[in-house]
Structures are given as structure tokens and as C-alpha cells.
Amino acid sequence: MNTNASALHLVLSGDPALFAIVALSLIVSLTALAFAAIIGIPAGAALALVRFPGREAIIVILNALMGLPPVVIGLAVFLLLSRSGPLGAWGLLFTPQAMIIAQTIMVAPIIAALTRQTIEDLWAEYKDELMAMNVGPVMRTATLIWDARFSLVTALLAGFGRAAAEVGAIIIVGGNIDGFTRTMTTAIALETSKGDLSLAIGLGMVLLTIIILINALAWSARRLGERLAG
């Protein structure tokens, strides 16, 4: 059986090792996405709506953080969680939790920056109406987040795409331990270097499918938004 055929066989036969890796990858990336959303959406909305000294500098930094190389984030989290680091006592290095922390740090700026831009644009449009309707700050923020919900879903999916596809940060802080911290991307890197291309290609197929599905979801969210909200 050639490499491609055996890769396809691994995927279609539901190979337990392969799908354990897929499951861990999804758990890590989705958990990181949830934390990043909890941090990023309110932070982005606050940055869009509250004026304070240094706000523009924070926006520039936030936009720059969107392009932060994953290996740099991995290194920073590694130093933070290593035995001699400030959070070394937590014993999180080389665990899925460490990978979640790294991916959260990577994805939160993306969600915050996209939320900030979306909410700021919507605020410019809604400002007169909401002020005239005497809508208070809390209701105002909730209204803007709700009305931007379809754009925010796209932001979340962009964040998830980045988390699911990255390898640099999680290989540093997770260590790529078989059955414990091995994810799709780290496994692909390892298996390719070992010359076991079947598993690497099989995981690549699954990862590619997930990324295509994410983009299809983003597209559908936008279309649904246009249909339901105009």
C-alpha cells in the first residue's frame, strides 16, 4: 500500500491513535478559543467604546500582537511555567493546560483586535440613535455586541483557525508527548521528520478538512447574518 493510500486508510478506518490526536487538538484549541473569547470580546468592546490616555498606543500594540510569532509566545510561556519561572510551582509545563495558555495568549489579541474594529465601526453608525434613546453604557455595549454577532463569529473562527494550525508554541510548551500532549500539528512535524508519512498525511488531511470547514462556517455565518439581520 503506498503512503497516500495508507494515510487515507488511517482516516477512513477511524484509527484510534490518529483520532486521539485529533480529539486532543480540538479540545486544546476550542478551550483556548473559549478563554480568548471571554478575554478578547469584552476587551475589544471596551477599547472601542472607552476613551482614555494611551488608548491608541494599545490599539497599535494589539494589532501588532495579532502577528506575534507562535514560537515567541511558546518561549515566553515556557519561561513562565518552567521550574525556575514565576509560575513554575504550578507544574503545568508539558501539559495540555500549558498548550491552552499559549494558544489563549495567541488568539486573544486576534479576537480583541477584530472585536475592537467591528464594534468601533458599528458604534460610529449607531451612536446618534443609541444616545437619543438614552441607552446606558451596559445596554449600549450589549446592543453593539449582539448586533455585531455575525461578524464576531467570523472573528472567533479566524482565531480558531490560527490556534488549530499553529505548531511553534505548543511544541515548546507541550513537548509533543505521545498520548498526552501530541496534537495534529506537532505530530505532523514529528512524523515527517521520522519519515512516517502515512500518519503525517492522514493528520494533514483531517487538519485541512477542519480548516475548510471553519472557512465554510465563517462564510455561512456571514450569509446567515445578511439574511437574518440585513
Binding site: Y126, E129, M133, G230
Partner: protein, 240 residues
């Protein structure tokens, strides 16, 4: 504990009110009394200050100079006043949800009934589930009116509500203005359509370059204008 209705906003009194942006006076020493009754119509050419005056009366712009009161109160949050802007923004929601948004303080049980009643008033029954942004320009104006009325105002400000609408849509808006006025809501609207001012206005005020040129009962305003600018404007001359 009893729920007390917010106090009335009327009468509105402006004493020597000016709004300045740098050296430019958008409103220049306007004194005006807005009392309950038939609609007050603000007329004047573009840039006369109609929109700015409506925003001042709404409380969205603070006067740079002068005093203004709502039922004698100088500081009054807009509890019973509402405004429909010339280009109202539709929330990214359904038609019914846009009206419901204005009913934030009503109980859940009352909302459904009030939404249906208001959409019926503005002739949008049957379009409840349509995204508001998919409505036509005239329908959006009527929806904005329904949303403003959802706040149960006793002072309703309309900024050029029929600008860029066709005659049928214009008539629909004017009919709503009359219906709302008949229910006791004080309407103050701006227009540069003299015909509309005659059809709708109980009293008419001419603004030019930020100044209030003349303000009086509509019949007298058109039959025997006092100011030179009013005579020229009614005669169809261009005020520049």
C-alpha cells in the same frame, strides 16, 4: 411601590440659545417657546440650522450660550422625547425587534401587543420578521417613527422625515404625523418643503443662517409674513 410615569417634557423654552463651532454659529441667539398642540414646523434652506436646533431640543447638543428648559427643568434626560433622524439607522435586527428595542422598559407581556399596535399605526403590519435593513427608504422612515413612538414620547422631533421620499411615501409619513399629533404627542419637524409646512404645521418657524427669522401660527405665517426673508422664502426665492 407604584411606577410613576416620567414627567412631561413640555413646554420647551429656548432663551437666546447659540451653538458655536469655533467662530461659526450654527444656531445664533434663538429664543423659542414650544408648547403642546399642533405640529411645529421648522423651515429654511440647507444649512439654516434646522437639524442643529432639533438636536439641541433633543438634548444631544448642549448650547454654547443661552438657557434651555424642558417643562422648567434645565437638566432632563430624554425620557419622553424622541427623535427620528433624516437618515435613521436600522438596528441589524428584524422590523419587530427594532420596535421592541424602543420598548426596553415595557414588560414582556405588553411588548408583543405594543409592537403589533405600533407597526399597525405606521402601516408595517405583516413585515414583522423582515430584516429592517431590507425595507425600502419609506418603510425604514416609518419603522424609525414606530421605534421612536415606542418610547412613549410627548415630544417627537422629526428631521426632514420625507426628504428623498416619493409622494406616496411622503403622504404616508404626513398621515402618521397627523395621527400621532391627534393622540397628544407634540411633533416638531423640519422640512424645506413649503407645501408640507402648510399641510402639517400648526405653527411655522423660519430659520436662516442659524437665526430664527420668524415664528408664528401657520395660517398667519403664510398669509401675512412679517420679515423680508420670510416673504422671499415663501415667494420661492433662494435664500443664500
Amino acid at each position: 411601590m407604584s411606577m410613576r410615569a416620567p414627567p412631561s417634557e413640555l413646554p420647551v423654552q429656548l432663551d437666546d440659545v447659540s451653538v458655536r463651532v469655533g467662530p461659526l454659529a450654527l444656531i445664533d441667539g434663538v429664543s423659542m417657546h414650544i408648547s403642546p398642540g399642533a405640529p411645529t414646523v421648522l423651515i429654511g434652506p440647507n444649512g439654516a440650522g434646522k437639524t442643529t436646533l432639533l438636536r439641541v431640543v433633543m438634548g444631544l447638543i448642549a448650547p454654547s450660550q443661552g438657557r434651555m428648559t424642558w417643562a422648567g427643568r434645565e437638566q432632563a434626560p430624554p425620557e419622553r422625547r424622541a427623535i427620528v433622524f433624516q437618515r435613521p439607522v436600522m438596528l441589524r435586527r428584524s422590523t419587530a425587534a427594532n420596535v421592541r428595542f424602543g420598548l426596553a422598559k415595557a414588560g414582556r407581556a405588553q411588548r408583543h401587543e405594543r409592537v403589533a399596535e405600533l407597526l399597525d399605526l405606521v402601516g408595517l403590519s405583516g413585515l414583522e420578521r423582515r430584516p429592517a435593513r431590507r425595507l425600502s427608504g419609506g418603510e425604514q422612515q416609518r419603522l424609525a417613527l414606530a421605534r421612536a413612538l415606542a418610547r412613549d414620547p410627548d415630544l417627537l422631533l422629526l428631521d426632514e422625515p420625507t426628504a428623498s421620499l416619493d409622494p406616496a411615501a411622503t403622504k404616508a409619513i404626513e398621515d402618521i404625523v397627523r395621527a400621532v399629533s391627534a393622540r397628544g404627542v407634540k411633533v416638531v419637524m423640519s422640512t424645506h418643503d413649503l407645501g408640507q409646512a402648510r399641510r402639517v404645521g400648526g405653527d411655522v418657524a423660519l430659520l436662516h443662517r442659524g437665526r430664527l427669522i420668524e415664528h408664528g401660527d401657520a395660517a398667519e405665517f403664510f398669509a401675512s409674513p412679517q420679515a423680508e426673508e420670510t416673504k422671499r422664502f415663501i415667494a420661492g426665492e433662494l435664500l443664500v
